[in-house]
């Protein structure tokens, strides 16, 4: 059999089910790939022994669960029982949780098991995976390229065949942007569809876990496995679990898709525009009706996001104080100095920057002007979407304003880095689902993605559109293996 790790998750599941390959062989194949891909720096922790054990267990007693016998690497933001969980930060570099996040537990309950923990931007704050304490991750697309962020370890590992599928978290684009940069599929579900319990928090009202896969079918399978109501998360949506993979269909004739004029931003590369046009054409050919729409408050989304997210983060990260777990500085003569030294040593620059911004916007005298105003604008952004979703079934936009940029290119220019999230953050602010699909390449051969935004809880519909799109897009992610 040719290299199984080239296959999609759906194909692998078939092959394991029909015993063409054992779970152990599958796991060994990924372990081999991972060992040969150290240059990518996609992993923070590997759990090979445990994975091989689990694979053998499965082979001895196979089952037909949704993810039967599948080894999976996950972003190191998900707490995993007895396995080090760092969130890409020095402050948690020795932290071993005694508990398993709901989302990963859901995956294991569907028959998958852990292969390792994937690198990410520190506390998911970043768009290039350069803020990780464990070093930057490299995009398999090119040795000078960032894999996107914050789920950069996830996108890199997926694109380099180091895991058959993976999960990330998306607070402002952290699944969709890296998916777009690596030519893979990434879905940010409706806020509340996947439990946040056991995920290291960045910005609670925006954080949402989601799948990152090679194909849309894989995405449906993963979403089905990981989602579901969780009474331990007060913001979790209490609704019946859906079977996205079974309900996937490619007939999307008659659907109405909105094209928002505000997403044509200044200085956007021509290629992005062309990609968008190509996407529209494909959908039109599939019988979809394209409708020009307006989301007038889009231009305020980025500043709104960069007030709300740091504000919540400044409070969420207060617990990392060296008192109960994680890094504690040995310097300092009293409690306050211990705090100051612990946090100065434990957090990187980008995290510190956001804590400072967040603390500032919540301060008395500034709260009304920043945080409260931002919350009001957030409502307007949400209303823009609500108004349009009475007219259209989904919205098509580019995923990012550019393809993967060079390592170090934007590192010292936070504003330019933040601009990379311009198409993805409005979705988080509105709590909506959005799917990033690989749709083409730029002239350097770097992948580009298109984004489908859906109504709240309308994941099935955007998956169906994506499924039909994928079949007709004739895009093939061809990455030359240069790293081993």
């Amino acid at each position: 059999m040719s290299d199984i790790t080239n296959q999609s998750l759906s194909e692998i599941l078939e092959n394991v089910k029909s015993k063409k390959i054992s779970s152990l062989e599958l796991t060994q194949a990924y372990i081999k790939n991972i060992e040969n891909a150290k240059k990518l720096n996609a992993f923070i922790t590997t759990t090979f022994d445990q994975a091989l054990e689990n694979a053998k267990k499965f082979d001895n007693k196979p089952n037909e669960l949704l993810l039967h016998g599948i080894p999976l690497a996950v972003k190191d933001l998900f707490c995993t029982e007895n396995i080090k969980t760092t969130a890409g930060s020095k402050i948690l570099n020795n932290f071993i949780p005694s508990y398993e996040s709901t989302v990963t537990k859901n995956l294991w309950n569907c028959g998958a098991f852990l292969l390792g923990k994937l690198n990410c931007d520190e506390f998911a704050m970043g768009s290039s995976n350069e803020t990780s304490f464990f070093g930057n991750v490299i995009n398999p697309v090119g040795d000078q390229l960032v894999p996107g962020g914050s789920s950069g370890g996830s996108s890199s590992a997926l694109a380099a065949n180091l895991t058959p599928a993976t999960i990330g978290t998306d607070t402002g684009g952290s699944i969709r942007q890296p998916a777009s940069f690596t030519g893979t599929v990434g879905l940010k579900p409706t806020y509340g569809l996947c439990s946040r319990w056991g995920i290291v928090a960045f910005a609670s009202s925006l954080d949402q876990a989601g799948p990152m896969t090679k194909t849309v079918s894989d995405c449906a399978i993963m979403l089905e496995a990981m989602s579901g109501f969780d009474e331990k998360d007060s913001t979790s949506i209490n609704k019946k679990k859906e079977t996205y993979s079974k309900n996937l269909k490619d007939n999307i004739k008659g659907l109405k898709i909105g094209i928002p004029k505000e997403y044509r931003v200044d200085n956007m590369p021509k290629e992005i525009d062309e990609l968008w046009e190509k996407g529209k054409k494909i959908l039109k050919n599939l019988g979809v009706q394209l409708i020009d729409i307006s989301l007038p408050h889009t231009k305020y989304a980025l500043p709104t996001y960069y007030i709300v997210a740091p504000a919540e983060a400044s409070s969420n990260l207060a617990r990392y104080d060296g008192v109960r777990y994680g890094h504690r500085s040995q310097k300092g003569k009293d409690l306050i100095e211990m705090y100051e030294n612990t946090r100065s040593e434990g957090f990187g620059d980008e995290v510190k920057r956001r804590i400072l911004i967040g603390t500032y916007v919540l301060s008395s005298g500034y709260y009304d002007a920043y945080y409260l105003k931002a919350q009001k604008v957030r409502q307007l952004i949400k209303k823009d979407f609500d108004d349009n979703f009475t007219k259209v079934d989904a919205i098509l936009t580019p995923s990012t304003p550019s393809s993967a940029f060079k390592i170090g290119e934007k590192k010292n220019d936070p504003v330019s880095m933040y601009l990379n999230d311009i198409f993805t953050v409005p979705v988080n602010l509105a709590g909506l689902p959005a799917l990033s699909l690989p749709a083409g390449i730029d002239k350097q051969g770097h992948p580009l993605g298109l984004q489908l935004i859906g109504k709240a809880l309308d994941e099935q519909k955007i998956l169906n559109i994506g499924y039909a799109f994928e079949k007709n897009c004739c895009y093939k992610n061809e990455i030359k293996k240069w790293w081993s």
């Binding site: 319990w197 913001t235 409070s315 207060a318 008192v323 409690l335």
Partner: protein
Amino acid sequence: MSKEKFNYFVNGDKGEYEVIIGLEVHAQILSNSKLFSGSSTKFGADPNKQVSLIDSAFPGMLPVINEECVKQAVRTGLGLNAKINNYSVFDRKNYFYADLPQGYQISQYKNPIVGEGKVLLDMPYGSKEIGIERLHLEQDAGKSIHDMDPSNTYVDLNRSGIALMEIVSKPDLRSPEEVNAYIKKLRTIMRYLGTCDGNMQEGSLRADVNVSVRKVGSKKFGTRCEIKNVNSIKFMQMAIEYEANRQVELLEEGKEIDQETRLFDTKKNETRSMRSKEDAHDYRYFPDPDLLPLKLEQKLIDDLKKSLPELPDNKKERFIQEYGLNSYEANVLVSEKEISDYYEEVAKLSDKKLAATWMMGDLFAMLNDKGLNISRSPISAKNFAELVQSIKSGEISGRIAKQVFEIMVESGDNPKKIIESKGMKQQSDPKELEKIITEILSKNKDKVDQYKAGKEKLFGFFIGEIMKLSGGKANPRLTNEILKKLLKG
């Protein structure tokens, strides 16, 4: 009830000052588990034995509201005649401290669960209404222990995350006595409702006291100081007195009062500055994104209202109407639910008025002596009622009753049995009484003569002798009648 005049003022050289007091009471909610986690709330466990991953703020842990705590807050709000808000919001109050694992306390800031209400106080100068500003839900912090080790601080998180109600009064209190009455009233109401055990020693009831002074007659409030965490009513009263005098002295010297937070030093009986307004924390309150706003359906509130027990103010009215008690008696007997229950049981079986008198006299004195509360009284309500009835029917005299009472305390026995076995029954047979009286009179012929000559004070002497001879059992009323008759003869 005596109509005394309110007279708590602080005298300065330049005039009389009125003291304005507002209280922020922190009452621990009676519930099995904490406000946002399933950990137990039992008092007295070993350090850090009742701490979940949520209470200790591990990464990725999320709070989930405990419904029972919400109901308890609503019940308390209803007991304070307050407006229950159908919509309230949990906010984060951000500050760093070693015993605050999250780095923030989940509290309610702009939208509390309970709004304005009122509490009625019975003061010697009449009843007084104290306004309630609000009641909100919040988490307690853990405990830092600084004296276990010379160089380290220990942290106990058992208390971390326990549900508290912060009950904020309006600045309506005017004296340490009113503060005393207010705290006791709050405590009574919450104990009736079963929403807080009111145990100040265990810290289930704590208060921050806001004190300011102003010249009598002035309408403008002075600058206030907040005295933190005073954990007994006595200390609270001492702190207020000290603080009021300190502020008056400053004003008299022409100085200004700094708005600040002060601590009461229980060893020196004085307050001292903890932090000034400039150093006040900026708590950076904002709505907790981990929790949805709390929406209460009116039906839930209505159902809770219907299921509330009779509250002390209503019970007091009923006691006055139903049992013919005066306001003072009724007040004392409703002060604790257990006392009122005991009284009602006794009153059902005996004379209502006499029962009140004996309960508030001998029974309370005995319990006080022994340091017992009424639920642990050695005398059951049924036995106590029988004792009261024996007095009422004339079976025993009040004097004998005191002896029977003593024996009941020691033995726990039924009074009838004691009276019978010890032959303590009152002598009410006129013939027998006449025999005893005649014997006394014949032994004291000289005194009889003196009496007849006009020395009427000797009547008491004869009674005393008769009682001695009868072993205290002679029926006083009959004895009086017969003695008078025989002395005339």
